[in-house]
């Protein structure tokens, strides 16, 4: 193998108290595709953003052809031949392809020269795109090609692709792979940030896997000798199951049953298809999956915040069509949303006031119920602080002043006081420290004595610690529902998350 183009040594980057990257050593070689794998939040994008000049590293060195370099901006990185194709394209939609490219490479070639260069570059690398078309007329795949052409016209040696297939249709994905293959043939260095195993197996020469900011495989390994199973295991990790105090609870009536539930995510994200399961009082039913496999849309539809497209939902003995459910969603469901900062709470309001968010009916008073019972709200806030050991002086403190864990406890306490038959918890311990995590787990376990609990998470450890039954979601479908006591099958959850069925 030739000398590395890029060598990172001991690279570390911190955001506040969190290390996004810690002591990362990495070598990238010319003419090879290097896949960078890891779950969401593992630190892949941060690492590559440092390489592409978007962030400065806090520690460590970056060497290019053996010379130490630092990039103060993406433009500086580009001058050295390092460019990134972001998930969100950096193009001006109302302008033509040629005009867009002229913005960045016009100085080099002159406006006239740009048209000629586009055609040359496009031909050399097989990147078919019409320079006269305006960006908004192009498909996502074509836009991506424009970005690639942009980097090539700037003589980029190292091309970093951040989840390049996430916005593409399957035929466009195949076309992209042909392009990447060609780029490799021309001696370029390619980095592929992804969490899709098929792509890695199809394209990559080298693989690095990140977990929690660290490179867990610090030397590139030859992709061709690895099976999907091995990769999946390395990516998800074999986490130690924390022993939680899990009492046996007798199963009660069926609280929620979905049948053929299908729909789109409200924000145009991945859809969910033909989801069928039921949850009974006394159990924690978990849906686990890698982020972006349809769980967001599914939860939103179950909570009645968006309308599913098809299927039926039975709640507390009454059946609804997808449409009826969205209308009837005043039904009492407690819900701890994934976004605890912008959805689950209001930072500028007090803890007491945050109790009103979902419990407003309980605080109606006076004048035909038009007035707000602030006393009762404050009392609930105080009780929550005491019962859940929330570290704050008073219920009048603003929710925004709380740490993530304490804020999550406030939201959890609020939802618990609703005494709903169904309790939905979405990524309830994401980003929380161990003690807050344990408190929240304990609360969820107690909650199942009175309700059915739907836990939606990407955290395998959480699922294995809490669940009674586990549904693995992949590509919008529940691949399998596994009994948590069936230890043979539980071992396969990690593989199923990666879409490996057999």
């Amino acid at each position: 193998m030739s000398d590395p183009v890029i060598s990172l040594r001991g690279l570390s980057k911190r955001f506040g108290p969190v290390w996004a990257n810690r002591e990362v050593d990495l070598d990238l070689f010319p003419g090879r595709v290097h896949a960078l794998l890891g779950e969401n939040g593992a630190g892949k994008s941060t690492l590559m953003s440092i390489l592409a000049g978007r962030y400065g590293a806090d520690k460590g060195t970056l060497m290019m052809h053996g010379q130490e370099v630092t990039f103060s901006s993406p433009a500086k990185a580009l001058d050295h031949g390092i460019g990134m194709v972001y998930q969100r394209f950096m193009l001006i939609e109302s302008m033509s392809v040629a005009d867009n490219l002229a913005l960045t490479v016009g100085k080099k070639y002159g406006r006239r020269g740009v048209d000629y260069e586009i055609r040359q570059t496009a031909e050399q690398y097989g990147l078919a795109v019409d320079p006269e078309k305006r960006i908004f007329e192009l498909s996502m795949g074509e836009r991506q090609r424009v970005e690639i052409i942009k980097l090539l016209m700037l003589d980029a040696e190292v091309l970093i692709f951040d989840e390049p297939t996430s916005v593409l249709t399957p035929p466009e994905v195949d076309a992209l792979f042909v392009i990447i293959d060609r780029l490799r043939g021309e001696g370029k260095t390619i980095v592929l940030i992804t969490h899709k195993l098929e792509e890695v197996l199809k394209l990559a020469d080298d693989i690095s896997i990140m977990r929690k900011g660290r490179l867990i495989i610090s030397e590139p390994i030859d992709a061709r000798q690895m099976s999907r199973q091995q990769l999946a295991r390395l990516m998800v990790g074999r986490d130690v199951v924390l022993r939680v105090d899990k009492k046996e609870v007798a199963l009660g009536e069926t609280v929620l049953a979905l049948d053929g539930f299908s729909g789109d995510s409200p924000s145009g994200g991945p859809s969910f298809n033909e989801v069928t399961f039921e949850i009974r009082k006394g159990e924690i039913f978990s849906i686990i999956g890698v982020a972006g496999n349809g769980q967001t849309g599914l939860v939103s539809a179950i909570a009645g915040l968006s309308r599913a497209g098809a299927g039926t939902i039975t709640f507390d003995g009454t059946s609804y069509t997808a449409r009826e459910w969205a209308m009837a969603s005043a039904a009492e469901i407690a819900y701890v949303p994934e976004d605890r900062y912008q959805s689950g709470s209001i930072g500028s309001m007090s803890i007491a006031e945050n109790f009103g968010l979902t419990r407003l009916q309980a605080y109606r008073s006076g004048l035909a119920g038009l007035l707000l019972d602030r006393e009762k709200m404050a009392a609930d806030g105080r009780r929550a602080i005491g019962e859940h050991n929330i570290k704050v002086e008073s219920s009048e403190a603003s929710a925004g002043s709380l740490s993530g864990g304490n804020l999550q406890k406030v939201i959890l306490a609020r939802e618990l006081t609703r005494k709903a038959k169904l309790f939905i918890a979405e990524q309830p311990t994401q980003g929380l420290d161990i003690s807050a995590t344990e408190d929240i787990w304990q609360a969820l376990l107690e909650c199942r004595e009175k309700a059915g609990v739907l836990l939606v998470t990407g955290d395998l450890k959480e699922v294995l610690s809490l669940s009674d039954r586990i549904g693995v979601i992949f590509n919008g479908r529940i691949l399998e529902i596994i009994d948590a006591h069936d230890s043979d099958r539980v071992d396969r959850v990690g593989l199923l998350m990666a879409g490996v069925r057999s």
Partner: protein, 357 residues
């Protein structure tokens, strides 16, 4: 390296910081202007101060100006609590005036005061509501930006009012002057002895207190505040945002309509030019100067009223253009936004505080 970063926690006294810097910046800008005009800024400010505080008479004019400003300030603040921009208080004020004058002149000209005044009050509020519901419906149902619609409807309202008092509603005994006939005495608001302050002023104060408690103590007010602070949380909580847009804009329009009534029934006693002199726009400054706190709105309105009265003094005492007060008003607004922005950011002196995107 000096770096400007967003504060994680808003500054505690953000509103006070903003208001204070607004006044400070306006004073400094004033100094520059006065100096440029060859007048000692101290002399000028003294003249303004004297003009406002020298006599009961002078100060009463401040309150006269403050009365409509409180109403329009409340109108803007009501909408802004939900992050709606009602730039249309001017047009709603005009419609309040039209409804008030119409009720007094044509619908119930013969009624006694104790019956007519409440009717006129209700009518003017209704006028404002009707006009504010047009942009409200467009926003709620079709997501049309309310800034544009409220603003543009102002011109429609003013032109229609002019059509009325130049045309069908013109006083037949008015020697051709544009304007309606005088409204009956029963519809004229009682004034405080020897001044032009009408009962519109205490009514405005009452409205401020009412709005304060409505926002703080009612379920509706709570929901409006949640929607204003965080749309996503409101969606999660299942609040009816569309309905709130309508009710908030209606209340906002009602306040602006009442401003028109106090002008027509408290000052001019008729519909005429001089009703639409910009109180609706000034209300924007009042509302933000008050930090959207209804209880602070009267103070902001009085401050702005004093600025106007003081500006007139500059003209009569020092021979300066009275439009200087408009420049100072503009400086207040800029100072306010500068102060709010400052309060939201912090300066740090290292490169370690980058925020992940």
């Amino acid at each position: 390296m000096i770096r400007v970063a967003k504060r994680k926690q808003p500054l505690r006294y953000q509103g006070a910081v903003a208001t204070f810097s607004a006044v400070a910046i306006a004073l400094v800008v004033g100094c520059v202007i006065f100096a440029a005009l060859g007048v000692n800024p101290l002399t000028a400010y003294t003249a303004m101060g004297k003009g406002v505080l020298s006599s009961v008479d002078a100060f009463s004019e401040v309150l006269v100006k403050a009365t409509p400003l409180i109403f329009t300030g409340l109108a803007v603040a009501t909408a802004a609590t939900m992050m709606l921009w009602n730039i249309g208080a001017e047009g709603q004020l005009v419609w309040g005036g039209i409804f008030a004058a119409g009720t007094a002149l044509f619908l119930f000209p013969g009624l006694d005061g104790w019956l007519l005044i409440p009717l006129v009050l209700a009518a003017s509020a209704l006028g404002g509501v009707v006009w504010s519901l047009i942009p409200a419906l467009l926003r709620a149902k079709l997501r049309v930006n309310e800034i544009l619609t409220t603003l543009l409807l102002n011109y429609v309202a003013i032109i229609y009012m002019e059509h009325l008092f130049y045309g069908p509603w013109r006083d037949p005994a008015g020697y051709g002057f544009p304007g309606t006939a005088q409204i009956p005495e029963a519809a004229q608001l009682v004034r405080f002895a020897g001044t032009r302050i009408s009962i519109g002023f205490p009514l405005a104060l009452l409205c401020a207190v009412f709005l304060y408690y409505l926002l703080k103590k009612s379920i509706w007010g709570y929901q409006v505040q949640v929607i204003g602070k965080e749309q996503r949380a409101a969606h999660y909580a299942g609040f009816n945002v569309t309905g709130k847009i309508l009710t908030v804009m209606a209340l906002s329009g009602a306040f602006a309509g009442l401003a028109g009534m106090t002008e027509v029934c408290g000052i001019h006693y008729r519909l005429q030019t001089g009703l639409a002199v910009g109180y609706g726009y000034d209300g924007i400054i009042v509302a933000w100067l008050a930090g959207l706190n209804p209880l602070a709105v009267p103070f902001a309105a009085i401050l702005l009223g004093a600025l106007f009265v003081g500006g007139e003094q500059l003209q009569s005492v020092l021979g300066l253009p009275s439009s200087i007060s408009l420049i100072l008003e503009g400086a207040l607004l800029f100072g306010l936004f500068a102060g709010q922005t400052l309060a939201r950011y912090t300066l740090t002196f290292s490169s370690r505080s980058e925020v992940p995107s």
